[in-house]
Subunit: 677 residues, 2 copies
Amino acid sequence: MRNESPASGRRVPPDVVDVVVENLTPMVDGGRFMAKATVGRVLRVEADVFAHGHDLVRALVRWRQEGRRQWDEAPMSPLGNDRLAGNVVPAALGCIEIEVVGALDALATWARDSRRRLEAGRPDPLDAEIGAALLVEAAEELVDRVAPERVEGVRSLAEKVHGGLDLALLDELEAERGLLTRRAILPDEATTVRTKAVAARERAAFSSWYELFPRSASPDQDRPGTLQDVVDRLAYIEELGFDIVYLPPVHPIGRTGRKGPGNSTESGPGDVGSPWAVGGLEGGHTAVAPELGTLADFDRLVAAAAARGMEIALDIAFQASPDHPWVREHEGWFRHRPDGTIACAENPPKRYEDIYPLDFHTDDREGLWRELLGVVLFWVDHGVRIFRVDNPHTKPFAFWEWLISEVKRDYPEVVFLSEAFTRPKVMHRLAKLGFDQSYTYFTWRDTKWEIEQYFEELAHGPGAAYFRPNVWPNTPDILAKSLQRGGRPSFVSRLVLAAGLSANYGIYGPVFELLWDKPASPGGEEYLGSEKYEVHHHDLESPKSIRQVVARVNALRRAHPALQHDEGLRFRPIDNDQLVAWTKSDPSGSDTVIAVVNLDWQWEQSGFVELDLSELGIAEGDAFEAHDVLTEQTFVWRGGRNFVKLDPREMPAHLLEIRTLPPPPAASPATSAPSSP
Amino acid sequence: MRNESPASGRRVPPDVVDVVVENLTPMVDGGRFMAKATVGRVLRVEADVFAHGHDLVRALVRWRQEGRRQWDEAPMSPLGNDRLAGNVVPAALGCIEIEVVGALDALATWARDSRRRLEAGRPDPLDAEIGAALLVEAAEELVDRVAPERVEGVRSLAEKVHGGLDLALLDELEAERGLLTRRAILPDEATTVRTKAVAARERAAFSSWYELFPRSASPDQDRPGTLQDVVDRLAYIEELGFDIVYLPPVHPIGRTGRKGPGNSTESGPGDVGSPWAVGGLEGGHTAVAPELGTLADFDRLVAAAAARGMEIALDIAFQASPDHPWVREHEGWFRHRPDGTIACAENPPKRYEDIYPLDFHTDDREGLWRELLGVVLFWVDHGVRIFRVDNPHTKPFAFWEWLISEVKRDYPEVVFLSEAFTRPKVMHRLAKLGFDQSYTYFTWRDTKWEIEQYFEELAHGPGAAYFRPNVWPNTPDILAKSLQRGGRPSFVSRLVLAAGLSANYGIYGPVFELLWDKPASPGGEEYLGSEKYEVHHHDLESPKSIRQVVARVNALRRAHPALQHDEGLRFRPIDNDQLVAWTKSDPSGSDTVIAVVNLDWQWEQSGFVELDLSELGIAEGDAFEAHDVLTEQTFVWRGGRNFVKLDPREMPAHLLEIRTLPPPPAASPATSAPSSP
């Protein structure tokens, strides 16, 4: 032996496992944040799993509730190009630990190589002995994981292989692949990579929001609305098909700096002020404005909604009017200017004289942050489980991460919606740190190109792991340009886009269904006579109302799992730039809805939409019915390319259910993917 | 004070910095591996840096040689959408620590807001006082970082601001932005995120390889070639313009199982065997085959190459012929079958009877791994600094990561090229763990679509951070299909594609320049009469040789920094599917080359290529010269859309230098970007 090697002093690393597990998804910022999941829904986990050389690998995905000992697991299946996928299904709310465990698969490698040698007519006489040993090992790895008789089956296969190998035996082995993927992987032969997800309840993933101003909910022209009027309005909202009723702040409104109609800095004694100027003599964030009613009224509203299977969502606006009790009791919670005055909210050159922002870095940070957490817990205590957070992007990220985790520790069912129409990176950070749902730029995505690009990104971009979009055609702050011309066709098309593209959506009513379309100023997006500063009375029975359309859209959403998930969105080619077409399918592939929207509010548009029949579970030559739930029309279609024509004066959109026709006598087998377990 | 808050017992997190730094690039697998950099070249570092609200941020990128105390730093500039970029320039070989440090920029925020208030005619009387204080603070942050008189300048600006603020003063401040970006950022106000890179020498990033079989380098028909013949061949290779001469293994070749011509399992006494069947009675991986010469001859070859500014690259093929000394001395380093025999190399149903693979998990792993490291260090000791590693993908990843880091610890100038034509994930893993350059799929990318997709991915995909492509039109193992028909036009177009698209490329000669195009079998990719098993003699002076074209292409590569970088590649639209057009620019934007290749070896093709004049530094209306270095033709072009026509029988490609014409009397200002510092 030569010993003069120039490397003789070098240290060699401890023995290593050859399998690589990398590019695990979902993974948010290398595990710094949690991916989003939903109780009872499949979370698809993928990873690249491979080794050097030609050996085959196998992998399991394992998961457990944080803090529990017991792991659940599922085998992972190859997708090609060394990528594997497996399904996690969270059983309970809260944080879930997930890991992918990969190892070499000596048995599968041996089976592949033996088959190649046999098929090439160059069998290796040692293959039987080697394979039998591997099968005995595999049987051990199955003990306590499958029924004992199945373990026995593998052992008897080992004996047969030992007796002599042929292609028939390898076929028999191949038929047991489903069983063999369930073998245990021992830690010392495995590479393990971890990620985390947080499982929310179903409504975080699928929800239909209806926003309204209680003070405009009065059926009586002579007085403003109250919380009791909202109770009376619930039947109407239920009929429309919404499940979340979201109220702007219900707290006392400040007098100092109170805004008049149209955001005027002048206000008279009859002016009601902006609900977002929170706090007055009557109390702050845990009080109910006397003009709306009492805390008991609020409790009754929550109960009445619950009785209908609906929920009340409250607005969290962490700011204070100059009259808020905090200003008197905790002056230090506000920013002071060099001249000693409290700084009002400002986005230069705009100033908001009726609002003081809080100083989240105040010396009494403990006091302030606890107080704010207390506000949320107060309303949780009054039965609220959904919060829409106003302007979260103007408060520190660390504050929200702390607040949301503190609330969810005891109430993991609470849902937070982030109202941030700001820079994309900021919106994504808020979603990462814990907001369950996020407002989007949908409100300003009007053209086919914009809509397709944006929803492709939302459904399939990297943010899909943690950002649940909630799309709104309008809000009290935004009368979108797309609604200011075009009347009913525009409203219907924006409604169908929102409700058909996104599992979470909302409208601000009744101004939406009543087609309010007048801006305060030309080119602006504020409503003329904005309800933010004025009380209105609405004629819900107005003949121009599109409430029937809204109700049909929401009914379709409830009936079709396809519309309750975002990941199954696929835009479809259609040869007309005024028509947007897409399909949505649920993860099991068993339910699909087709949508086509005419973006042109003036003219009839037509084109050929190209479908993927395999996605619809329809054989190439078969006819099928496309039933439009908006118009109750039924079209008989055949093949992947079908003609559509939409006249906006009648109905600017198709929302189509697929109804397969009875198969012809010599039917071809169904091509639809089987449902997941 | 109310104390009944339901949150009163909750803990509040320690105070936090509001700035987020995320999505730092380059970053490989969250910092598990190092990004690739080059000494003296700019490494562009980017990150998302932002805070909540409307405050502006600033950031620095800092870097230092691993183990050093002193940091270099550079300010980062906004790219829009909250992304910032800064340039790192490694000064020495080896690992570099890099960090991005982000903080709020109270001064810039104040300046922006003050300007908005002044412009809106609503000045805030306190702005002067606040701004003056911020400027005094900024001056402190500049002390010891810029010349004292510049610090004084900021102080006097503070005094002027204190005396009264107006737009002119804000303009003056804006003019000093370059200075102000150089302020220090204190750790307690900063968020810091780290990444790592490894700086290699220039030749790792820009190299032209020439592979040849020494035994086929004899000028004498009557005897095979030797290392001395390679010395004599250097002048020719230099004339062709290559800087790396890569030799297949030069070690003794085994007799047992020796392959005959055409990979025949039968060989006669006159057969020379495959150089990759390493090891015979005369020695193993540290010996020189007697038929090629001696170790002293090898040393002379290395010295002769160095004298011409060229380098010798050796092949690392970690496997053994049955006659290798290791087989006798370390039987345990090889895998044994149940019958006690040593397993030969196999990729079923193929078997390589002349090669035993090593068992990298042998019980004597320390002995084996050290021996292999010793092989590399032996050749380093003989002046070799570039290694092409044969089949690295059949050895454990952990082995290569260890070996490369051990070699580079003492010899950071060593360059490793990975010869892995295997699954993409495996090739990328090898690049991540330390290989400086990697073979690619270029050899099988023939159509315009394939070429554009693939090089887009190589130049701009996520792998660009760590994967340096080295592209080869041919290798001893691969006579690409694209070369088997079409003769000279095909060879020239593949050459121009390789050398013009990739900063690192190579050819296997002299069979390439002599247009060898006969496969061993129809549809196959092995060479007929492959040099892997036979000695050949080449007529370098053959009139069919394209050596002149090769020389011109390589000369252009040396003359133009644009061709020495991969990141500046941009494919250009051209309205003909047989024509591929692209530009390459160097990072400073001061040098650009235009290339157009006709993929059709039979017919003339023409089309209009669309250029981006701003990239070329040419004003819209100006004429310019496009000078073709292959044909010495010069075209006068004007505007972004110009006609090209390529007849493959003459020359199937343009390689165009831009020559601007003297400006007309009333010249518009040059639009070219300034050179980087």
